[in-house]
Symmetry: C2
Subunit: 344 residues, 2 copies
């Protein structure tokens, strides 16, 4: 089913997942396209970003942002075109970065929109390397990780929207960069496309030993976006004065209970103490929103100079967003996952 001008398809949260989300947690509703009034504009979704944080929005456990209500449309970043406008600042056909969620159309009063110039960069990049994931990589690595030339930086989900940028920036800063990814083709891409020094397959039975071998000088910065067994392998390799920006914990997002014991939190605390490690969680726009222009300028230059590469993983059709999102949590995407809602 494709986008048309008479119908506003919405993907709503049908029920809260217990453990991994299933298709039954989502409902595709056919609603009418809303009308606009003076000062408003109608946005038509072209690209919808799918990101791991959305799993948190499906639950009502306390988190840093409100949960999506059951029956409400799933939230998410989008790249839209203006379908019609009664707003002086926007004209039909304009490209904008918005946060209109998993649907074809939305009404806006213009607030929170960022105009995009397709002559400068492909609009979809505003959802990836030039947008929230790239900004997350940039600030988390540079401000919290603070890598120095010659240090070893490790990042998991090495071909993902965040990880691939973390690794490439760390290379620009003169670090040894070791990625972690699932499967040989992703590991090859991390090294060959993104220029990592090494990339270790976490599906390998001797993963921990291979990671240790790839980090002969230990780990100075571990950019945490995974958690779980990847963190277990990283922890004993952390050097004195290592920094651990905590960006995400995708391995845990579907967990319904804590893992079996022993309770290793004292081990984690002891490692922080004896190795004088700094570990810091961050939420990109809450902590660093004021520094977005600095990121946008430098990343724009790097892209123009070909110093940062990116990979997008497009899925066609809004109706395929739920399955794509389920796959994202399983690591099935290969690059920044984007739903192409319309062929525009």
């Amino acid at each position: 089913m494709t986008q048309n001008a008479k119908l506003n398809r919405q993907i709503q949260l049908a029920s809260r997942p217990v453990g991994a989300p299933t298709l039954a947690n989502f409902h595709l509703a056919n609603t009418s396209v809303p009308n606009i009034g003076p000062g408003q504009l109608l946005l038509r979704t072209v690209f919808l970003s799918l990101d791991p944080y959305m799993r948190g929005r499906m639950s009502d456990a306390a988190s840093y942002a409100a949960a999506v209500a059951v029956g409400a449309t799933m939230v998410g970043g989008t790249v839209c075109r203006v379908a019609s406008s009664q707003h002086a600042g926007f004209s039909e056909g304009d490209w904008v970065l918005a946060y209109t969620g998993w649907q074809d159309y939305a009404v806006s009063d213009g607030s929170g929109l960022t105009k995009l110039d397709p002559a400068v960069a492909a609009p979809s990049l505003a959802l990836g390397v030039l947008g929230m994931p790239g900004f997350t990589a940039y600030m988390g690595l540079l401000d919290i990780g603070a890598p120095k030339a010659g240090e070893t930086v490790v990042v998991a989900a090495a071909t993902g929207a965040v990880g691939s940028v973390v690794g490439q920036i760390a290379k620009l800063k003169g670090c040894r960069v070791v990625g972690i990814a699932g499967g040989a083709s992703k590991c090859n891409a991390a090294v060959e496309e993104f220029g990592f020094d090494a990339c270790i397959d976490h599906q390998s039975p001797d993963f921990a030993a291979r990671l240790a071998a790839a980090c002969p000088q230990g780990i100075d910065v571990y950019f945490e976006n995974v958690g779980g067994k990847v963190f277990d392998a990283v922890l004993p390799l952390l050097n004195t004065s290592a920094r651990v920006p905590v960006c995400g914990l995708i391995a845990n997002y579907n967990a319904t209970q804590l893992p079996d014991g022993p309770d290793r939190s004292p081990l984690l605390m002891r490692t922080l103490l004896t190795k004088r490690i700094r570990m810091q969680g961050f939420i990109i726009f809450d902590d660093y929103g004021h520094r977005y222009p600095e990121f946008a300028k430098e990343m724009g230059q790097w892209l123009a100079q070909g110093k940062i590469k990116f990979r997008e993983d497009f899925v066609d059709g809004l109706e395929n967003a739920p399955q794509a999102f389920i796959g994202l949590l399983e690591g099935k995407n290969f690059g920044k996952l984007i739903v192409r809602v319309a062929k525009d």
Copy 2:
């Protein structure tokens, strides 16, 4: 048995403890007083500091400092007088801060010694509020904790050498200060002697609920020097953007294995992420040695102005050091624990 000029008593590590140290892990050896040569001086111990970190030195598990060898004299900070000198910089009778360990006498070439002026401050304070514990409190709280006026600061071991200073500095900075201590008399002292706003007894059966009630605005800075069940009660109370300097984990030092499950390390990581918390271990002289003069100046002023109070817990006799140290790990001391090796 008291100190005399013919005998150098040494308390040596007889064996490595498994779990809590016992008296059998220590051996009191009677050795001869060493001779000095040109450029050397003989130090006679007056005060020996007992500190929780010494438990780590008794084990050969990897830590931030080398283990004491079995058969070697236990290490530790001391306040000594110069018994005889062939060193141009020191005269008989001088008071010095040294690191000569659990013994009556030691030879020095003068390196690493700090002269003390007993007219300025009681020499024993160089082991407490004016020394390593005070410096630890000062830098950990101010540099990592970075408390702002009106915030809530929580510190355990509230009447201890470090905790009592943390709380008082936080009060000087305009914070609400909640201590945690073991037993009513320590809790009373935290409030009445040290000026904490509240102090909760961790032996109380409703400890966690009482801590929550004492922190109606949550916790902005938790100065971690205990770990264990105290940390468990603190974790859910931490506010967004809280800071957790990790100074010590005395509750875990005698553990021979990790606690039973579930494994709560994912909960800890998730809390760091969703609340954007900074947690950072530090080892005072390794991380902040260069800032000692800044501390010494400000703390000296605060003491002179009566703004910082302290409590010392003296134990008489070098031979009683092992039992006092065992008690320290059990929380039996009340203030900075110091062995008065000689009555000087």
